[in-house]
Point group: C2
Chain length 310, copies 2
């Protein structure tokens, strides 16, 4: 049986990676295993980034607590955040939506209006999609983004000695999920994709690796370490007001960016009002091992199978 858990996610992903071998000379220069796939069209000045994210009733949200506009924003932000983590600018999106009977005309209108409105705010055109009826609501959003050829930020570019930074304060989304109110709840239902920051990291700081914190700092940092073949030594990350250290280390759906820069890079203390905080350094050693305050950090994912990005 498929069950929740890190092993299951990895097993399926590894299996798919095996099934999805990329032929030599393919215009697809990155497939399963990073935040986005990368496609290089013949003669194009840009590489194109592709990512797709499912948002399912009862798994990613509850009808009782999320308004139509919250659902739309969350469904789109997941993919926009993947584009941000690779330093890209979103270009267009496709949305496939399965609508159950409870979705009234007003709910459906609110959903699509919010989707289109957030997309427009990020210069992302709603280019198509598919509609179906079904028993539970689900929405799959595919976003295409662009970066100048060869410049996408990957998970695999970090090396021992590179410094590790994180944007914002962590744990707010996990806290909001628990207490269901206040600023933390707003943070949970209304996250912001860090698109301008992603472009800044790529163009100005020439970051060597980046990922968005969708499944928790510990798990997402481990992913970069494994892809780059490094270990990491970190301190406690900055915490959202009221969040526990565990929520900051392991809470998902933050959509802040975790990034690596070469030693000596002058990283400003903030970018457009968002703090950028040094939390550690990449080191040699067994790939994927994270030390926090001298102890090995036990990586905890955030409902892994629900977030099994390929």
């Amino acid at each position: 049986m498929l069950d929740c858990g890190l092993r299951t996610e990895r097993t399926i992903t590894e299996r798919l990676r095996g099934l999805a071998k990329m032929p030599a000379g393919s215009a697809l220069i990155a497939g399963i295993g990073d935040d986005c796939a990368i496609y290089r069209p013949r003669g194009s000045a840009d590489d194109l980034l592709f990512t797709t994210d499912l948002f399912v009733e009862g798994v990613h949200f509850l009808r009782e607590t999320h308004k139509a506009a919250d659902v739309a924003r969350n469904a789109l932000v997941r993919s926009l955040s993947d584009i941000a983590s690779m330093g890209g600018a979103p270009r267009f999106c496709l949305a496939s939506v399965c609508l159950p009977k409870w979705a009234t005309d007003k709910w459906t209108d609110d959903f699509f209006s919010s989707l289109a409105s957030l997309a427009a705010r990020h210069q992302t055109i709603l280019a198509g999609g598919d509609l179906a009826r079904g028993e539970t609501f689900s929405c799959d959003v595919t976003v295409c983004g662009a970066v100048p050829r060869g410049t996408a930020l990957l998970r695999s570019g970090a090396r021992a000695g590179h410094e590790i930074y994180v944007s914002g304060a962590l744990g707010g989304s996990a806290l909001g999920l628990v207490n269901g109110k206040g600023k933390a709840w707003k943070r949970h239902v209304n996250p912001e994709p860090r698109l301008a920051l992603g472009e800044f990291l790529r163009e100005r700081l020439r970051a060597t690796a980046a990922i968005d914190i969708s499944d928790g700092l510990s798990l997402d940092l481990e992913r970069v370490c494994l892809a780059s073949g490094i270990a990491a030594e970190i301190t406690e990350p900055p915490r959202f007001s009221g969040a526990t250290p565990e929520q900051a280390l392991h809470g998902g759906e933050e959509y802040e960016l975790l990034f690596f820069v070469r030693p000596g890079t002058r990283v400003p203390a903030g970018f457009e009002g968002l703090p950028l905080t040094r939390i550690g350094v990449a080191v040699g050693g067994k790939a994927g091992v994270i030390q926090l305050g001298g102890s090995t950090l036990a990586v905890q994912g955030f409902d892994h199978f629900a977030h099994a990005k390929l």
Copy 2:
């Protein structure tokens, strides 16, 4: 309430088209309203085609009658067929899959193996996707294809006097859905995307418009007529053995190509063993009106809302 019906599909699609206005000078040169969106990357020799299709348990298939391999093939063929209808060659796909508890390891393995196998047969790389758990199975497949810049076959290029052709024999999929056995059932669960034919229509016949018959000849012909601003006069299309005239005219999930060519174009009687049959001619008059044997044909869709492609 959202309900099944042509009006509802059109209402939602029109509303989304309004929400999704394309800015002047956008690299997205076609959005909602054709089989694929078309994106033109900076400097690229190719235009890229994008299409996405949902395949949902209880709507598009029943667990009792469809094996995992059938589900995978059908889920992918829908999008490959959209690429075929625009004369494109598929390049890669993304698959987002919602797996319910009944999906055993074996079922899931069979599903992904079949998906990867059909994709590979059509030089389509499985480049990524997303996994979630959920109560019902659904699969959303996005395919990216390519055509040389400016050559995609659109719905809007037909003019009065152009001749109307269809590939294959129609009604087999609808017949198979009714009788659940024999060649017609095979046709229903194992359709073939007409990719080589699509490229032939674009390169050799320089077809002026094309669409794949996913929702029935009458509805899909009406779509081309409306997009091109023409009417059509047709005869009975070639019928799959055992299919009724109604099944041939209105049955969906055929994945044959309906195409238009300039008068005088030498269309061969077949292409790689597949018959190509002249069924009529485009005429002036009220856009979208189809005459069959001197009477106006009542357009009937095939479970429209379940196939509400944007």
